[in-house]
Amino acid sequence: MEPRLKPLGQATADYLQQIWSKPCGLVDIKQIPGGASRETYRLKLQIDGEASGLILRRDPPSSLIDTERHHEFNTYRTVFQTGVMPVPEPLILEEDHAALERPFSIMREIANGQASPAGLDDPAMDACRERLGRTKWTLLGRLASTPISDLPGLTDFMPVPDHPEAENLAYWADVIRSDSLHPQPIAEAAFRWLERNLPEPSGKLCLTHGDYRTGNYLYTASGEITGVLDWEMAHISDPLEDLAWSLDPLWSPQPAIAGRLMTRLEAVGIWQTASGIQIDPIRFKWWQIFASVKALAIWTSSNEDYVNGTTKEPILALAGWPLMDRQSRILMDRLCGDNQHLIAEPVLDLS
């Protein structure tokens, strides 16, 4: 056990002992890398004599995404209760600062699976990559086809947008304009394109994960998805939003491969079958460009946070530096007709 983490682990065990009125002993605590929005820890405890694995998510002093912790927790609870996607069971949300200095949530650990994007490139995954891709976009298609009325309590804490495209664009454009440390001519050109080509609402609404991508789900060596994680950006929107985001070229080192798993067209086909939704290519192009703008907004925000905020996590700096560069070049590929399209195709041909 790392000595620096022991006090936090012990404080968590003491807190749980008090809340659950059961003997609770700390066995181990490890910090999980990659938690840009929350500090994430894996705890091994003895609770009433039984071994138990828990995940602790604690607010950092500042974060990549300004999100409400109860929003994320409530989303986990809703998805867990309905079983529309595999997620860890949410157990506790504590907003008081007393126990662990900052608010936190606790979930039951899903012991089986890893989230590493690079792990998908392991030759050992060759045989099951197709199965994993099929599962990934089938799950997303099922979520897209689940009426929000089938997710009890969802609209109690999540607003239902009148115009998802317009509302999303306004929100993320404001993030970029508020947090940019330098003028961003490519992002501004993308805003204007998105405004000029703003589609009418499709009338289809679903719960969208908001960050459904490589790295945000747990997978096994046999190609199963055991948990979908990081729901802090979940919201109600058009089903195409999550699909476009999941296919953004940023999530794969190979331009033609979506999420390191399969071609975009294969992924789209699986999603269409699972969701029962036939994609309108024009609307989809809008959401693809929007996805890159939203990602750019997150990198911009992280950059601002790293420079002006109190958190000096390297991931924030990296997001705001080479990732902004790559995302801008993806947008160039999408919007500039005579680009070389080394990273992204100009538009996904769905014909």
């Binding site: 890398p33 994007p117 330098h182 050109a189 940023l250 390297p314 990296l318 560069d325």
Partner: protein, 141 residues
């Protein structure tokens, strides 16, 4: 002494990657060392070129403005034509670069509004060169 910051930062990054990262005991420390290595490589790549690529951007924007000076609706845009950075410090070059990019955004929006396809294409061409100029060799995460 002739400093070689790009080579120095690169060798520090490689040192972390080959000597520290492999012996880091926790998964978190390994990931941190990996990210720091990538950050140092990024800084190394930018260090040598930072002033140069910004100055090239500024000159490209000045050139477009100069070519189209007669037709532009906002005379204030042309004030940047003869400007130079206050000094060659990166912060001063970056300040003028920001000023030029802000004008480029206004110019681009104006060209689109006007339906001037020729100027629009010129600006996209400029943006393409700009984004290629600033790109990093690092692989995606």
């Amino acid at each position: 002494m002739m400093p070689k910051p790009q080579a120095t930062l690169t060798s520090i990054a490689m040192r972390i990657a080959t000597h520290i990262l492999p012996v880091a005991e926790s998964e978190y420390a390994q990931a941190d060392a990996g990210l720091i290595t990538q950050l140092l490589m990024t800084a190394a790549e930018d260090f040598e070129r930072a002033v140069d690529v910004r100055m090239q951007d500024i000159q490209d924007i000045q050139e477009v403005l100069r070519i189209h000076a007669d037709q532009l609706p906002n005379p204030a845009w042309l004030e940047i034509l003869d400007k130079m950075p206050v000094s060659w410090k990166l912060s001063d070059v970056s300040a003028l670069h920001d000023e030029a990019l802000a004008i480029l955004i206004e110019l681009h929006a104006w060209a689109e509004g006007l339906g001037d396809q020729s100027l629009n294409r010129e600006i996209w061409h400029l943006l393409r060169i700009h984004s290629e100029r600033h790109k990093y060799a690092l692989p995606p995460i």
